[in-house]
Amino acid sequence: MDEAPRRSPYLPMILAWLVPGGGHLVIRRTWPGLVFALAIIPLFGAGLVLGGFENVSQERHPWLFVLQILAGAPAGIAALLTKTTVLTDPLPHRSVGDLFTCAAGLLNLVAIADVWARCTAGDPETRVAAPEPDGIESLVRTDSDDGRSAPPPTPAASPEARDV
C-alpha cells in the first residue's frame, strides 16, 4: 500500500457521488472502491426491484428521493426510466425496497466522505490519532506531581530502620 499523495478532493467526490466506488478508483484505492460498489449498487438494484420499480421518483416520493439521489447516477437513471411506472398490485416487501434504496444512498454518502478523508488526510492506516485535549486531568494534581502526598517509606522498608 503506497502513501496516497494529497490532492484536491472535489473531482473524486463528485465521481464518488455519480458512480458508487468510482471516486476510490480515481484515487487508485481499488479494493475500497470495489467493496463500496459491490455494497451499494446491488443494494440499490434490489431495492428498486422490491419496490416494483416505482419507489425512486421525485414526484411520487420526494422525501425518499432526497436520500435515494445520494446514490448518484443509478438513482437518476432509475427515476428517469421508471417515470411512468404505476403499481397495480400491492407488493409484499415494498417497505424493504424503500429501505434498501435509501440505505444505498446513505452508504454512498459514507463513500463520498471516505474519498474526502483519503484525499485530505491520507489512508485510514496512516492517519495519526489526534491527541486528547487537556480535560479535567490537567486541573487535578496527581501524586507524581509533588512529593507531598506520596506515602512515607515504612520503617521496615528502609535499611536504616532494619539495622536499629
Binding site: W31, G33, V35, L43, L99, F100, A103, L107, V110, P124
Partner: protein, 64 residues
C-alpha cells in the same frame, strides 16, 4: 419460506452492506477491509437484533 425469514434475510443483507462499507472506509487492503467489515457487520447486526428483541419483548409485555 416464511415472510419473517425473508424479511430477516433482507435485514442481514443491509447490515452486511453497511458493515462492509464501513470496513472499506476503515482499511485499504483486502484483509483489513474483510476484518473491519466482518466486525462492523456483526456489531451492527447484533445491535439491531438486540433492538428488535427489546421491541418485541416490550410489545409482548404491553399487550399482556
Amino acid at each position: 419460506m416464511s415472510d419473517t425469514l425473508v424479511r430477516a434475510l433482507f435485514y442481514v443483507w443491509v447490515c452486511a452492506a453497511a458493515g462492509f462499507a464501513q470496513g472499506a472506509a476503515r482499511a485499504t487492503t483486502p484483509a483489513g477491509i474483510l476484518r473491519h467489515g466482518l466486525r462492523s457487520t456483526v456489531s451492527l447486526g447484533g445491535g439491531i437484533a438486540l433492538l428488535c428483541a427489546a421491541i418485541w419483548l416490550l410489545m409482548r409485555v404491553t399487550q399482556g
